[in-house]
């Protein structure tokens, strides 16, 4: 796994976009440690600038509730700690997209956790499909309201098949 770019916010921002993603990898991985400035724990994920043509099923666990649902509003939404959650804590999240340069639809797996003042630990697992044949050249994380807090970090990696020198691909 090779780091493409990593960004830590020195100033809060509503959106973080990675552009000109190299096309010589096989899979994309994003690891993130983020937090909202607003009292809203959701953010939106876009590929090639688009928040459309996503289908999503999630499993969410929090104090007093475990639920699963399919989302049909076209976009891909996930979670982070909101403003009232434990001060200075950030989510642990990861997102995986295999075969990101292929001309097939793109499958996505994502998981994230956050913690709320020792009273509530939250987990969300997402499976999604982006129905688009374009190779992925940009990836955007966008807070629905407010900003990603200062100190939020997103790192983007690529995995190239056969690059470990052990596995031979043909």
């Amino acid at each position: 796994m090779e780091l493409i770019e990593s960004k830590t916010l020195g100033t809060a921002a509503a959106s973080i976009e990675f552009t000109s993603i190299p096309q010589d990898g096989t899979d994309l991985v994003a690891l993130y440690s983020i937090r909202a400035t607003a009292d809203t724990d959701t953010f939106n994920f876009k590929l090639n600038g688009s928040s459309s043509n996503f289908t999503q099923r999630y499993l969410r666990a929090e104090v007093g509730s475990v639920n699963s649902a399919a989302r049909s509003d076209d976009d891909f939404v996930t979670s982070m700690p909101k403003s009232g959650f434990t001060a200075n804590t950030f989510s642990n999240g990861s997102l995986y997209i295999p075969n990101y340069t292929s001309s097939s639809n793109k499958s996505i797996s994502e998981d994230t956790v956050s913690e709320n003042n020792a009273t509530d630990g939250r987990l969300k697992i997402n499976a999604a499909l982006w129905s688009n044949s374009a190779a992925i050249t940009s990836m955007t994380f966008e807070a629905f309201t407010g900003n990603f807090a200062t100190g939020s970090t997103i790192s983007l990696y690529k995995i190239t098949k056969g690059s470990d020198g052990i596995v031979t691909t043909s």
């Binding site: 493409i4 770019e5 960004k7 916010l9 100033t11 921002a13 509503a14 959106s15 973080i16 976009e17 990675f18 552009t19 000109s20 993603i21 190299p22 959701t42 939106n44 928040s51 639920n67 649902a69 989302r71 049909s72 509003d73 076209d74 976009d75 939404v77 955007t140 966008e142 629905f144 309201t145 900003n147 983007l156």
Partner: protein
């Protein structure tokens, strides 16, 4: 006056990072996405509440028939 939300653009080809205000189109899309999400969440919560209400009503009717809590649990678990 409210500051316009910003976007940090990280160019993976050059490693350069720039910060720009969201465009009017991006702001509109952000609002559309937020409203769509909130509408679907409201729908999900309403469905969950309706399910809980129906469950409580069903339990009450079973109790009225004379079933005990453990008997109700045995047939609904």
């Amino acid at each position: 006056m409210t500051d316009t939300p910003t976007k940090v653009i990280v160019d993976c080809a050059t490693g350069e990072s720039t910060t720009v205000p969201l465009t009017a189109e991006e702001l509109a899309q952000r609002e559309t996405d937020r409203l769509a999400y909130e509408a679907q969440e409201a729908e999900r919560k309403a469905a969950e509440e309706a399910k809980e209400t129906a469950k409580a009503s069903a339990n009450a009717k079973l109790k009225a028939l004379g079933l005990t809590d453990s008997e109700i649990a045995a047939i609904t678990a």
